[in-house]
Symmetry: C2
Subunit: 535 residues, 2 copies
Amino acid sequence: MAPKAPKFELKTPKGTKDWEGKDMVIRDKIFSTITDVFKRHGGVTIDTPVFELKEILSGKYGEDSKLIYDLADQGGELTSLRYDLTVPFARFLAMNKDIQNIKRYHIAKVYRRDQPAMTKGRMREFYQCDFDIAGIYDPMLPDAEVIRVINEVFEGLGWNGEYTIKLNHRKILDGIFQVCGVPEDKIRTISSAVDKLDKLPWTEVRKEMTVDKGLAEDVADRIGEWVVLKGKRDLLEKLEQDEKLSANESMKQGMADLRLLFEYLESFNAFERVSFDLSLARGLDYYTGLIYEVVTQGSAPEKAPVTAGEEGAAAAPKQKKKSKANSEDDDRSDDPTVGVGSVAAGGRYDNLVGMFSGKTQIPCVGISFGVDRIFSITSARMAKNKTAEQVRKNEVDVYVMAMSGNGFLKERMEVCAQLWSAGIKAEFMYKVKPRMPAQFKAADNNGVPFAIFLGEDEVANKQVKIKELGLSKDHPEKEGILVSQQDFVAEMKVRLQRKKELDQVAVQAEGLKVVDGIKKGEQDGDAAAEAAPAS
Amino acid sequence: MAPKAPKFELKTPKGTKDWEGKDMVIRDKIFSTITDVFKRHGGVTIDTPVFELKEILSGKYGEDSKLIYDLADQGGELTSLRYDLTVPFARFLAMNKDIQNIKRYHIAKVYRRDQPAMTKGRMREFYQCDFDIAGIYDPMLPDAEVIRVINEVFEGLGWNGEYTIKLNHRKILDGIFQVCGVPEDKIRTISSAVDKLDKLPWTEVRKEMTVDKGLAEDVADRIGEWVVLKGKRDLLEKLEQDEKLSANESMKQGMADLRLLFEYLESFNAFERVSFDLSLARGLDYYTGLIYEVVTQGSAPEKAPVTAGEEGAAAAPKQKKKSKANSEDDDRSDDPTVGVGSVAAGGRYDNLVGMFSGKTQIPCVGISFGVDRIFSITSARMAKNKTAEQVRKNEVDVYVMAMSGNGFLKERMEVCAQLWSAGIKAEFMYKVKPRMPAQFKAADNNGVPFAIFLGEDEVANKQVKIKELGLSKDHPEKEGILVSQQDFVAEMKVRLQRKKELDQVAVQAEGLKVVDGIKKGEQDGDAAAEAAPAS
């Protein structure tokens, strides 16, 4: 019977972790908030295997292919763990020729043999929440809906406008590169260099272009004039007014797309948080049109110096201070979103399905939410708001207790069975004769709102006592109420429903809830002024 | 732009499949029904990595270890895909010494390099839904609650008592083997032979014991007298009355456990579907006490010969015909559950955590539901009940349509944005100027219950028309109702709520719903008479 100690270190594999307790509850709440938004837009879910044939993944991720996890060759097919959910989705569409259009969402783990940085939320096993619209439609309509979905997700998570949706267009970038004189065969590699502008200053990126990648200095300088710019309609107009750019065929297509997109985003009330940012390039090769990335200062306040007064008083995290500097370059270095990394990213990929199906092409546009990073930011906010303390580990509504040395085990079990049959979440102590304090402690540990007591009198009179836990001393029902054994289930249902409604009102009044819809930000003056992308 | 065809067969790896469409909706419904039950009993969920260090899994699954999927050695740790959720749970408990008791549930995929039999639901990647109670408690209380959980899950899935919970006790089996004269070193292998009694007749099993495993013939015959028996309290009394058996120490412990369990199951109203079955042995080595397995005839009627009259008329699947034969052996061969395989299984394992933690022992008892098989049976039932046709692929509530050649794109988008902001699920056609029939078809394809129309008059008068789709010709609101653009969201909410309530009433009346709680079976005379394990 005496077990022998294992000879290896007891741990999860490198870059992976267990999820449990309140973290798990919060993450589940994030999933359900995101799922609600996806369903609100007609999304349906699919489930693909965690591993794919090795050939499916190869040639899709460029340099990052080295990060793919292979399964051992144990005879039979060679397979690899999925690297993202996009390539499996394209494979699925190519295999199911009867599906010509779909709004699909998929929430699942993906795998990358990267160097893990657990504190920054970079893991080898992590969740992605993807929403993609596949099908042939009038231009930019699905693209606009995806941007609207991004807004609803972050508002649903209670971020109150504290995020920026950076967007750009591959055809605009390519047009700029062409007009500036980048040779056709260097366009993708120069694009990769530009993508680093969120981490490096322009001088560094310019060096990579010229010294490392052999671009002529004057070409780099011309690029430098454009890719540091960001704005909204103003930037689009600036591009349109430039004679050389506006004559470029690729630019023309990209600009027409953006003009239409901006109009649609206004109809969708989803333009507010958008920043047209020419420095955004995105790494993956398969994007063909609109690209976007969501950034937030999020957890940055923890690292950035904050004055004591600001830190203590704010109910919600403060918005970043507006930089007074007018130079784009200076503004970037002051931007608290720099280096935090994106919390969601995506774009249009019109040619990926065709890579599998040969002839059939199904254009797609989509977004992938990085849940681990969203979790870190959300839980930091909850810690600050003290809402984390209110998170319960389980959802038990009623703790059934014996108030007698007898223990009334059979009676407690029968009461629980009746509650369960009515769909009510209930527990009792797994002891024949439990002590009172132990039962109260168990209920208290999990924040159970109600207790049902069984004492000598109650059992003799075929009654139970229902008591709401945590009532104030002078509350008229502080001592609980007696109900017959026939009626207590119905009574319990009424009380639970009433409590649920009251809790909802309270939560809404405090503005603490992770809400489902987009609502006007009311918590914080600064945030509300800048946020509120919805009606 | 013309994509090249891939050079390999486009498929998912052997023994895996994609899930989509109605199947996915039905499977999600099964998950949520099961999750509701787990939460009702105070369950909390954890999430462990899909792969574990290879050492964690080795030495836990006996012969079946050869079915473990290894990841390729790409430098670093050697890891394998999890084979079940139980061993990772035990590893988790051993690592988290602050958790001394927990009711944990875990719904996730597991991996076995078995020979797949897709039609029987045997896959290489499949879902398990596990609920386990860990901690030191008074005897048989958590065990009884797990049996109650099994009842609630299958009643929640609408199986109306059409399942049998076979149970046995390792200590009773071991006691019988000892008393019958099985040498101590042969006990596990003889136990494995007994476990095959659900697939093979006694004569075959006897042959395996004597010829293959070298057991004396008289010992095998004595075992044969016992292991073919099943019953309830009657069988327990028969064991208790046997002088030799009741003198055996292992038997004594097992019989005391069962006596207590049966009492508790009556208090929990969960004894009805239980069959104390001495032929149940369960393969895995780590069980130490109570073991159980849930079987059903389930999909069997599809294979068994059924007379035409019976097949057409029954609203719910018929219960099996009672066999007139009294011999246990004959009855077995007539039992339609034979060969169908179990839909859930589990037991008590008190020593597994200690295999990892060295000293700390945390006793556990749990159940694992095999969702793929439950899915096959549930969807076969739904097909028979014609409820599958009612399953919608998405959950969209409102389809927003233009009733004018103008297309009213901007107006449709604004209406959708307002609905989304209010949390209402809405779609519109991704076309600038969609045709009426195409819009109706899109709404109809997904069974969308409401449409909002925007025509010339409506837009001019700042109104919308709300129309419930599929109303009868003479319904007073057949043509829809006009509402101002200010009020339509509130009006839509009221109507959706009302429809939801009416649908629930209708569904309950038809008894078709996959219900949450245990309810009295009312659909089918036969089933109801035998079923209804609840109050």
